[in-house]
């Protein structure tokens, strides 16, 4: 097993600073959704991780903790994630994305 970044929607969607999205070295990995936070009743949208692209560097954790001071990202073993976004289940829309979350192990086992 290995670590991937995991964003706490409750914290992120109450801050939504969009800082980590600009610092992940990998493209199309920290995604942003306008609705995935507000749908759950939070103030803003949320950042989330396309876990199949995350290389586990934890650079985003430093950005969220030290630059944004929001502490919303934790490195988590991929099989411990409750649900995760993978590239195949991410839909791009006008100025936002939406992901259908699923069990990440289904993808890893392929």
């Amino acid at each position: 097993m290995y670590l991937v970044a995991n964003i706490n929607v409750e914290i992120c969607a109450s801050k939504s600073c969009k800082l980590c999205t600009q610092y992940c070295p990998e493209a199309n990995t920290i995604q942003y959704s306008e609705t995935m936070g507000t749908d759950k009743g939070y103030k803003y949208g949320t950042a989330y991780i396309a876990v199949d692209r995350c290389k586990g560097c934890a650079l985003c954790v430093w950005v969220c903790d030290t630059m944004a001071k929001n502490n919303a990202i934790k490195m988590t073993m991929i099989d411990q994630l409750p649900l995760a976004a993978v590239t195949d289940n991410i839909r791009y829309e006008e100025k936002t994305t939406v992901a259908v979350l699923s069990d990440p192990m289904i993808v890893i086992g392929n």
Partner: protein
């Protein structure tokens, strides 16, 4: 090379992979996008084998987002880590022998001008410090002295990262590396000064811990190179492997190095200032006195 190449061939759409469809439908081609929108559009850069947490990767990601017209851009690279990512982008990438990137780019940029006339086609070289300041040094300097109109970006990780840690001309004096166990005996080369002496119209240093600044310098450099002359960006893009930087401390290191030897500097020639102002509406270079002077008659 135009928006024509960013579309589906008739009848093939449903056979294309998801990433390709996302790129055509939600990529940045033909649109104005900025780093603040990152995470909400499909990027031109795809998956690649560069190391986890590499700042060079982040810089390349930002640079590609900053290209003013990605659909009219060709990148040129050479041996070194950066090509592993630059080649995995939906932008044509030219790769030659180690160190010949500025020679290749000179020919390419001239050829594109013959073929397309005034329609801007941007050529952007991205190469390591070894490729730029050591092996490719002669071609880099000649392209600058000849005022070849393209952008040169040095991905300066202060080491030969791809081959396991040899010192380069851009390594700091005294730095101990795997393949320089006694420490480097000479000073870091001053390529910024050389770029100015050689007549570059735009010279800037940048560190990827400021994405908006990366975006701004890349845009200016590419636009100026369209007509005015050579442009040079020197970016600190640490190698966390050869300098043993923990990946979650890569941005902290960038900040330290920025304060130490990579403070933001920007040189813009007078001709380039005039060009950016007149052609692209930049306000930064208007004479300082002009604004209040213009305001007085309005008030009266």
């Amino acid at each position: 090379m135009s928006l024509d190449y960013v579309k589906f061939s008739g009848g093939f759409e449903k056979f294309m992979p998801k990433e390709y469809r996302d790129m055509v439908e939600h990529g940045p081609f033909g649109k104005k996008i900025s780093v603040s929108q990152m995470g909400s559009f499909k990027e031109i850069l795809e998956e690649h084998p560069m190391c986890a947490g590499c700042a060079m990767t982040l810089f390349i990601r930002l640079a590609i987002i900053a290209f003013p017209n990605p659909e009219d851009t060709i990148t040129v690279g050479t041996a070194g880590c950066g090509r592993l990512a630059i080649s995995q982008a939906a932008i044509p990438f030219v790769y030659g022998n180690y160190g010949d990137q500025n020679g290749v780019a000179s020919g390419l940029s001239r050829g594109l001008r013959l073929r397309f006339g005034d329609k801007p086609k941007d050529v952007v070289v991205m190469a390591g410090d070894g490729g730029t300041a050591d092996i490719g040094f002669q071609q880099v300097l000649h392209s600058w002295f000849r005022k070849e109109r393209f952008t040169t970006i040095m991905l300066d990780n202060e080491v030969y990262g791809n081959t396991g840690g040899q010192e380069s001309g851009m390594t700091n004096r005294g730095a101990v590396l795997k393949m320089a166990p006694l420490g480097k005996k000479f000073e870091k080369m001053d390529m910024l000064q050389m770029a100015k002496v050689a007549g570059c119209a735009y010279v800037a240093t940048v560190v990827p811990n400021n994405p908006r600044r990366v975006e701004s310098v890349i845009k200016k450099a590419v636009l100026i190179a369209r007509e005015v002359g050579s442009t040079y960006i020197q970016a600190y893009t640490s190698c966390n492997i050869e300098y043993a930087i923990p990946t979650d401390k890569v941005m902290e290191d960038a900040k330290t190095v920025e304060n130490d030897r990579y403070q933001f500097t920007e040189y813009v020639s007078d001709e380039a200032k005039q060009y950016l102002t007149e052609r692209y509406g930049y306000k930064d270079y208007l004479p300082k006195a002009a604004a209040p002077a213009a305001a007085i008659p309005n008030k009266a």
